[in-house]
């Protein structure tokens, strides 16, 4: 595999895309052919099944690039495959079913274990190790987070909490009100696109757009915000210098980018509120504000929660906005940024970095747990 990627890297760039896609699709094609022929009856297919069960794990190990001195790894792969074959041949649902299932699920599951589960465990362990990753230091890294001043761990933790409290409220709130205001208005489509378009712009792009908007300089202003301040009779402000103002202006970038998301989803929810409900409230003489608060909001409450949770998770993990606007200076660091910064110090503070990542992880848990709970509920 290394040899393949290395060969690929030396191809002309535009050739790399089709070549890597073709190679990938050939592998997937082989998997689908094996899936198709695995459960076929007959003695010959029993041998085919054995070949698949033992051959595929061995081939995968070989593809990973093992050349020398690891015979027992291959042996283990072959034994596991043989075990699968044996289980499959005794399966009540018919021969080949289990092999078929394994072919369907194992590529993704293997990647999830190697790429998500295992690194997560590694990071959890590093959070309790020193920066070399070899010496156990107990809770020292977390003590560092909670005690360090300046632009270190504690600031980033507190800032992240502010981000999570502020950004979702405004993005969801503005999105909701806007969705209601443009609902059935004549220019609904255009007005929606204007708010929605920032969704497709990267945080990097958005941050530069707003850096220009917030620009401060001596003499003639080129940033619109300061020009507005001057027009209102004020003196220009160096927006990104003073804490906590700079943090809220950075949160505004996230709100700017996420409001469109909230608006589109809430707009769809508002449109699905039964007209009879609104009419009934109208007959009862409810004003439009009351209808909104007493009828529409309770009906679409589950959607509001989903939107709010999604934006909260985005705010918890934010990295790009800080990297582009202030690079964490002037007390603006957040967990997602500080984690990367600690790792890129020299020498890398892997312990600190892992502890910060753990804190993001812990803060995300309640949100995803809520989502998973409603998923389980809707399944049963």
């Amino acid at each position: 595999m290394q040899a393949f990627f290395s060969w690929l890297a030396h191809l002309p760039q535009l050739l790399q895309i089709p070549v890597v896609l073709a190679a990938f699709l050939v592998v997937v094609g082989v998997i689908i052919v094996l899936i198709e022929i695995a459960p076929r009856p007959g003695r010959a297919y029993t041998w085919v099944r054995l070949g698949i069960a033992v051959g595929v794990p061995v081939a995968v190990l070989a593809l990973l690039g093992l050349e020398r001195g690891v015979a027992w790894v291959f042996l283990l792969g072959a034994v596991l495959g043989g075990g699968l074959f044996w289980l499959d041949s005794r399966s009540a649902k018919g021969r080949g079913r289990l092999i078929q299932l394994a072919l369907f699920v194992s590529p993704a599951l293997a990647l999830l274990v190697v790429g998500l589960v295992w690194p997560t465990i590694r990071t959890m362990v590093s959070a309790f190790m020193d920066k070399t990753g070899t010496k156990f230091v107990g809770l020292d890294n977390f003590v560092w987070v909670f005690s360090s001043g300046g632009s270190g761990g504690l600031t980033s933790l507190l800032n992240t909490i502010v981000w999570v409290l502020v950004a979702p409220v405004f993005a969801t709130g503005i999105g909701l009100v806007y969705a209601l205001w443009v609902d059935r208005s004549r220019a609904e489509k255009l007005l929606k696109v204007l708010i929605f378009m920032p969704m497709s712009i990267s945080f990097v792009g958005a941050s530069i757009i707003f850096k220009f908007f917030y620009d401060y300089r001596q003499g003639n202003q080129i940033g619109l915000l300061n020009q507005v301040v001057i027009a209102l009779g004020g003196a220009p402000v160096n927006w990104l210098q003073s804490y906590p103002l700079n943090m809220f202006l950075m949160i505004a970038i996230l709100i700017w980018s996420q409001t469109g998301f909230a608006m589109v989803i809430l707009s769809a929810a508002i449109k699905s509120v039964p007209a009879e409900l609104i009419e009934a409230a109208q007959i009862d003489g409810a004003s439009s504000v009351r209808r909104f608060v007493n009828v529409i909001i309770p009906t679409i409450r589950p959607t509001i929660v989903v939107v709010w949770i999604t934006i909260s998770i985005t705010s918890l993990k934010v990295y790009d906005i800080i990297a582009v606007t202030t690079a964490g200076y002037n007390n603006t660091s957040v967990l997602g940024y500080e984690m990367v910064r600690q790792f890129s110090l020299f020498p890398p503070q892997t312990g600190h970095s892992a502890a910060l990542a753990m804190l993001i992880f812990i803060l995300v848990i309640p949100f995803i747990a809520y989502n998973a709970r409603s998923l389980v509920r809707s399944h049963s």
Partner: protein, 310 residues
Amino acid sequence: MTVTAISASTRMVKKTHRTLSSPWATIGAIIIAAVWTLPTFGLFVSSFRPATSITTTGWWTFFSDPQVTLSNYSQTLDFVSSGITITQTLWNSLTITIPAAVFPIVLALLVAYALAWIDFRGRHVVFVAIFALQIVPLQMLLVPLLKMYTGGVTAFGAQIFPGFAANSLGSGFAQVWITHTMSALPLATFMLHNALATIPGEVMEAAQIDGAGHGQIFLRLALPLAMPTIASYAIFQFLWVWNDLLIATIFTSGSNAPITKILADLSGKYGQQWYLLTAGTFLAIIVPLIVFFALQRFFVRGLLAGATKG
């Protein structure tokens, strides 16, 4: 009697419409829309102004003194940062994005099909477990993955994976592709499972009675029927990867950097070179904007499918 009732109800519906879209509401919406659009518009106008004008006068003076030039764009495309031109970074973005959008979708389709249509013990547990893996923030993965790619994997003293070559030329874009694929799998599996699971059971049974195996059903039946959702998710993933900065920062180096990474660099190093940043930003967002406007309907559908989970 009936006629009056009908006309009364039509009046009522009209009234509902009217009160929900009062002129004040529309004016409020227009104000928000203007606030939302002005920052982007300002940068856009600036990108066409001469370099010296951008940093000496506000972009709004453009309307009293219009000077239009394309030289910002031509200079930016040829600008060399970290040894590569901006043009090259745009190609890099494309080379990273297309495979990194295709890989997770295909792999997620395979596992989602099995979770939806093959009955096995524990499939609900597997499904919820994959969904719950969204819990893992990218930040938890970066350092261990980097170590895995460079140092390989060793278990019980034996090497299971020797790692990629250290320099970027040695492994090309492999690290970015693989990282994007792995981190996208939970959401992709969830969304595509929803699409596959809604195929009517009779259709699947009919195909099975006709003697088609799961491989054929997957290719000839499930894939075409799930195509709208696949397209929606593909757009989503494409934009996600194109706009990503974090994975690019950690897993690309030197000549492999995508436009987002170089733009973030420029913003730090050349924070006052606005001719570069204005044009560079628009070069970076032009592809997502084209995708967005051309495929808006799919994009919205993808968002709705992803967000109405549970």
